[in-house]
Amino acid sequence: MKRDKKTLSRRQFIGAAAGVAGALMVGPTVLNGWSENMKKLNEADVAYEDLEADVLVIGGGMAGLFAAVKANDAGAKVMIVSKGRLGASGQTPFAKGIFIYDPQKEKVSLDEFVNSVSASAIGTNNAVYTRQMAEHSLARVAELREWGFFDSPLYNNAFSKPIGQRNIPLIERVTITHLIKEKGKIAGAAGFSVDYQKLYFFKAKSVILCTGAGGFKPNGFPICDLTHDGTIMAYDIGAMVTGKEWNDGHAGKAENAAACFDGWGTMFERKPGLTGVEIHHDLGVDMNYVAYKTGNPVNTRGPGMATANVVGGPYRPAEFQRNGPPEREPGPGLAKRAPSGGRGDRRPPRGGDIPKDGGPPPMMGTSVGGSSAGMAIHKSEGLVPINDQCESNIPGLYAAGDALGSYMAGAIYTQVGSSLAGSAVQGAIAGEAAAGYSSRVEKVEISESQRKIIQKEILAPLKRDAGYSPAWVTQTLQGIMIPNFIIYIKKENLMRAALTYVEELRDHHMPMLRASDMHELRLAHETRNMIISAEMKLKASLMRTESRCSHYRLDYPDMDNENWQAWINIYKGEDGNMQLKKQPFGTWPDGSEL
């Protein structure tokens, strides 16, 4: 197998399917599958630290920033913990266009904006969250401007400013693995440091998950640090999650498909800028359909026009058909190729030159699919909100941004730049709501028995004598899930087949993951989260027997408005098994109208 440039997804899939997963292991680096644990952990070397706050914000992206600031300003004692660095982890560092709805400047009213988004989303959006995002965007952007957000392509300084001014404690490089519930409500969270053999227990009255989205550590999208951690740990304590059947359809370049930076041209080096109202129906799975039907190279002039020569495929509302050159959220491989071979030795635009349309039309070279495999449309997946306050069904647990299944944009990309704006707006809302909640409740203690269990679960991969390497299990999972004919162009028999393999990984590999250091421990927990996410994705996709927005079933190619004007909520049943149920569009989980 050639490095990177080429893929053998189909063969790999069949390889895995035939149980000869070893066939995957050709290439320059042979990933070590099962082996002895070289450096087993000595339990006595593990340190522990207990910390306390009213509101614990997990995640240091756009949502986490505003959650912490606003909870603090509402009077709560706040703490931020993130597995990466503030403003330099998750997806936030790579997003360069932020939407504002400025009523003075826009020709459309707020109502018209919301209606237009709803039309493009074919009912899949939650109009309350759509409106909330637009309504508050101007105020959030003004704050960002004050902090210097628009002055640099790198966000750490701007994010550090308000956090520093408020003396909000910030703990970086600590991965949270567990939410802790006592007596039916949130009591805190727990996780571990990647730098030291150290476990953290956070006691908190409320927790705001700002953990972003995730994927299967795909190649071509800078989301390899995100594995839906928040969603899975919330699911584990009984929260409802949603949106797993939807897909982000970003494609990449065939040449060096894994090079995110190169694929996005100079975008990562730009300073952020603003976008205004411009509603689309974009970046679903049209390209995947064309590739499925006609093979590669995909004969298209861009997303939105993909169906030009191909019959059938994902439905696109008439008013959002494309004619001219596409304007869309930029994507890897779609931006003009920069000449330097990725050493960054070039002069990027310094000013707030807004990457509104992602540069020149796509297809400068051959494409490959699945750049963002495992990720749904931003804000369509995540915790189910029970109201417009970003609150989950677990008392004290809030979520914001990509970690909240708010359906702000619907199950398709409708407004460029609204993802970043939505994270900012929801972060602020959740921060205030969580501060209010924690002022009303008493702190609950974390019981010794729970501590023991959590400690054991966190450290388990370090203590195994032998086991599967997380990297190998991840790659096997990728081979099962990422092929176009599994995750994108869906049909029942293949999804059932894939589910069987995923269940095998869940039951037989997940309990046998090994880790020889804290870095690998993080990989082990991430791998577990990806396996559960894969199960959710397949089950939700099997359940949704229709096609709509970014979910496409080859065996149910039409929209089914009779049965499927509904979102799918996933939760852990009494017996510990995964349960799925519908929640009609336009309602909250309790059945009340939006």
Partner: protein
Amino acid sequence: MSIENINGCIGCGTCVATCPTDVIRLNKQTKKAEIKYPADCQICHLCRMYCPVDAITISPEKSIPVIVSWG
């Protein structure tokens, strides 16, 4: 292969903190950054952009096989 080289490093630790996928670590003896887990590099260049002395070189190739949806 992804992140390739670190030359002229002053050991400030910025890249270690910055890398979202925890690829780089500081060597306590040499006081220099080391590429510890290259297979996990997502080729995002954040480390390079944050490095005060531009010590990091990154190439667009990935060292482990890349799995995509269609080839």
